[in-house]
Symmetry: C2
Subunit: 365 residues, 2 copies
């Protein structure tokens, strides 16, 4: 009631034109209210306890009295940015409050120079792609003290470095696909008949000539007419091999993900098993994690706060994710899952820094 009236008054005071009521976000939050919200978020993230007006003015030099802050808080609550667990308790930011904080009040906190050096050094020690991903995910978990998720460089964005065919038995061929990101996929091919080494050699040469350096999704189109180049007798073998190759290329299921830092979940909150169980369940499902990362925007960092997450089990968590890649282009994504009450600037800084350095490492190797 009270703040309703108040709000209307202020509005007509500030700018007469804003008389269309009840339009979302129509009332501009003045600077002090924003400062109050920022202070609430910061304090709550630090203490995990609802923050009251008195404590606020003590810890941040807002230059006004608690009573004034209380008025601002009432306005913020009415607009849905903060929330009171019980009458006469302090305030807690809502998802919407965090959203505003992330969008307008927080700056990504850059890593310090020593931190950057440490990251760089740690990642430099990796010996192969597996190791790189493993190191990345552990590093991220450690830096953010949250659950880290790293997707392997996806097949669809990479290019063919080499295709190899190996005869293992008269009618059994192993197909090995190596991508520019260092990823190796292998498949067994059961051929319809014995395969001559000369046919295999020719096929191998033609495959690499045409597909080498090409992006994976483009490859099928480029090889369509390949069987025609072979003698009729060999065509069925060629078609079989090609079919397996296309299958390998298309197989999005093979998107792999690595995880670390689940132990950090124990720092989640007080109402333990309830919060943590659905999260653990989500983390077990590669599909869910992939979808989660898939929602990441291609450019820039994505932050999904609380209920903004599609998957219900993660409704009380926030996900900070970003693409990374060997060049300018993102070939995969990585991110962090933590409580909505997280240190957004710090987390975003760490995620961004790690993504940048993995990208560099991949580009070099």
């Amino acid at each position: 009631m009270f703040s309703e009236r108040r709000a209307d008054e202020r509005k007509s005071d500030n700018r007469q034109l804003d008389s269309r009521l009840d339009v979302r976000d129509v009332r501009p939050l003045d600077d002090r209210k924003l400062a109050v919200l920022r202070a609430i978020v910061q304090d709550y993230v630090g203490t995990e306890e609802p923050v009251g007006s008195k404590a606020l003015v003590e810890r941040h030099s807002l230059g006004v009295s608690p009573a004034t802050v209380r008025n601002d808080m009432a306005a913020l609550e009415e607009d849905g940015y903060i929330h009171q667990p019980h009458t006469s308790a302090g305030r807690i930011p809502t998802d919407k409050g965090y959203r505003l904080f992330v969008d307008r009040l927080a700056e990504v906190k850059p890593m310090s120079a020593p931190e950057r050096r440490a990251i760089r050094h740690f990642l430099d020690g990796a010996v192969d792609l597996d190791d790189t991903v493993a190191r990345t995910v552990r590093l991220l978990a450690q830096l953010t003290r949250q659950v880290a998720v790293v997707q392997y460089p996806s097949l669809s964005r990479s290019t063919v470095r080499h295709v190899e065919l190996v005869a293992l038995a008269p009618a059994k061929v192993m197909l090995v696909l190596i991508t520019n990101t260092g990823r190796v996929e292998q498949r067994m091919v059961d051929c319809p008949g014995t395969v001559g080494e000369n046919v295999l050699a020719e096929l191998r040469a033609r495959l690499n000539a045409r597909a080498g350096g090409q992006r994976l999704p483009d490859v099928p189109g480029l090889l369509e007419d390949l069987p025609a180049a072979f003698e009729a007798a060999d065509r069925s073998v060629v078609t079989t091999v090609l079919a397996t190759l296309f299958e390998t290329l298309a197989e999005q299921n093979e998107e792999r993900i690595m995880l670390a830092g689940t132990a950090n979940l124990t720092r989640f909150g007080h109402d333990f098993p309830l919060t943590i169980q659905p999260v653990l369940e989500a983390l077990e499902e590669q599909v869910i994690l992939l979808r989660l990362l898939g929602e990441t925007a291609d450019a820039g960092m994505t932050v999904r706060i609380g209920r903004e997450n599609e998957y219900e089990g993660l409704n009380s968590t926030s996900v900070v994710s970003v693409g990374y890649g060997s060049g300018d282009e993102s070939v995969a994504k990585l991110g962090v899952i933590g409580p909505t009450r997280m240190d957004y600037p710090g987390t975003m800084g760490a995620v961004r820094a790690v993504a940048r350095y993995v990208g560099q490492i991949l580009a070099e190797s």
Copy 2:
């Protein structure tokens, strides 16, 4: 005090010869005491609550009164098989109690025929080694409702199916090792100079001729004198490739492990974060898990209860593990991690059954 005296009396009553006091396990537990212990374990596993004498006689037809059971319990407690959280609370089995239960009182509960069919069917759907392991670990987690751990068939026990060399660039060769368990390892080799295709072909042929079908640890010995068979100019290349191959063979670090069912940890106990955190930490460390499985006896099932586990963080858990393999021989291990208060017969039955079927699948493929 009281039970001290009592115990001595009973001892001297039973058999006069047993006058050497304080020798471990000197007093044989009569059948009823064992029955009582069994009943306590069963009830406690079911209810998670300390079990008292009255409830015991009600739920199990022991044929005696609560008072009698109390006397037995006092004896069991004195011997360290059970324990009272507080005066006038019920009893809880100790690690030693569970140990006795597992060793002498419990029978592995075989899976029912439909269960076995379901296992078989589920595992049969696997398309490759990765998938087999993934299915196995999920299945195990689901069957036991605990955390499941499956080790990839280890390199050290398997044999060479094929070695392949692929020239990727003038001085860059890819080495691919395929084992009889379907595992594929690849390494890049930077050669000291350009490698001719004819040299590569000869090396490939010789490698497969000598190493094919051999157990991995035996391979280095068999290939020692291989460089001598080549012309002096090519020897440095051969040595480099061999070095990488030996490295791959020796690399015990590459032992991989797959995990599932962490969400089941939430059913652990009441004192939550304290119990679960060290466990989650342990689960993140492949090294710890590998050591854990490494302690598994080569033949037969191993059960490590509570403090029997080397790693401190798992002191309140039990680990049931067993080897599995494609033939008679175990090539890797799998197991389950759960609270000491677990259904041992059921868990052991599930672990054994799953191990058996994975073995069969591997043998067939």
